[in-house]
């Protein structure tokens, strides 16, 4: 049976794929500084909300979305029902649709790789992939696996040591994530159009965040800024 070209090409270069995987894995290491305390903090919050160690860990293994997990355990503690939790999860994670579209159009994922990549497509893995690994599926898998591993280990530690760990927000480590996105954003600001889109999305998300759920604010502001920015005629060279 004839195999599609991409599927046939990738196993023919296993060393290259392995190199890209570990490059992606290593690229995430600086973010571990923030992921470890946040994974542990999520677990502490979940345990305080009444979830057991197995349930706390299951959420990290199966949902694997920090913001949504935090929102869910907060709602759980407030007595919300399953429908509310699932709806909140959907709202918080809506931006992942945009990530999938971008990755799907820039990186050749076929067969099981597409289905596996969907589980690993977090904010951080997407950001690292766009900045350093475009077009390389193995890089995306490396970055995603790195985050999955450390997030789940941190969850386990936090779930077991729930009463002894500090809140990362109280010691300032929550700043790791916005700073990581600042560092990922800077190399992408190649022309005035991109700078304008970034400013519009930033101000839009900040303002909308005061009147709507954070997940909705991010999706609406980012989509509106990208749609408007793409409609403006080019003046400063071709858009990559």
């Amino acid at each position: 049976m004839t195999r599609p070209a991409a599927d046939a090409a990738e196993p023919a270069r296993p060393e290259r794929a392995r190199g890209a995987f570990f490059e992606g894995f290593r690229a995430m290491l600086p973010l571990w500084v923030g992921v470890v305390p946040f994974g542990a903090a999520y677990a502490v919050t979940a345990r305080a909300a009444g979830l057991g160690v197995l349930e706390t860990q299951s959420m990290s293994l199966l949902v694997f979305a920090g913001g949504a997990q935090f929102a869910a355990v907060g709602l759980w503690a407030a007595g919300a029902g399953p429908a509310t939790l699932v709806s909140a999860t959907l709202l918080v994670n809506l931006r992942h649709v945009l990530y999938g579209v971008v990755v799907g159009t820039t990186t050749h994922l076929r067969g099981w790789r597409r289905w596996a990549a969907a589980h690993l497509l977090t904010d951080e893995a997407f950001g690292m992939h766009v900045a350093h690994g475009r077009g390389r599926p193995a890089f995306l898998f490396g970055a995603g696996t790195s985050l999955y591993l450390v997030w789940n280990l941190a969850t386990l530690v936090g779930a077991v040591l729930a009463r002894t760990l500090p809140d990362p927000r109280e010691i300032g480590l929550d700043l790791v994530f916005p700073l990581a996105f600042v560092a990922l954003l800077v190399p992408l600001l190649g022309d005035r159009r991109r700078v304008a889109v970034a400013m519009a999305a930033g101000f839009g998300a900040w303002w909308l965040g005061t009147v709507a759920a954070p997940g909705v604010a991010i999706v609406v502001a980012a989509a509106a800024a990208a749609l408007a920015g793409a409609a403006v005629p080019e003046r400063s060279g071709p858009v990559r």
Partner: protein, 102 residues
């Protein structure tokens, strides 16, 4: 299975669906305006995430977090190393907090 287990499975399902949906769209031949929109999505999403995560608890804390972001931007431009830029930006903020300024 308990209600908690079902809820976690449902949360997992909707999260996975949002990620898979975009990946399943046939986008390999996207050109023109849709292509330009997709090219701008990362810039827009990263800026929106920064805008939501950067403000701190009060104006003084927010100002120092902005200073840390400025350090990160400067180092990202000069060194082109995410690790160096991120860690030194964070170290700036933690040093200010440790000194009791923020």
């Amino acid at each position: 299975m308990s209600e908690v287990a079902w809820t976690i499975l449902a949360m997992s399902g909707v999260t996975y669906a949002t990620r898979l949906w975009g990946l399943l769209l046939p986008g390999a031949r996207v050109r023109g305006y849709p292509r330009r929109v997709l090219d701008l999505v990362p810039v827009a999403v990263f800026a929106a995430l920064v805008a939501q995560g950067l403000p701190g608890a009060g104006p003084v804390d927010s100002a120092w977090r902005a200073v840390a972001a400025a350090v990160t931007i400067t180092l990202a431009v000069r060194t082109r190393s995410l690790g160096v830029a991120l860690l030194l930006g964070l170290a700036t903020y933690l040093a200010v907090r440790a000194a009791g300024i923020a």
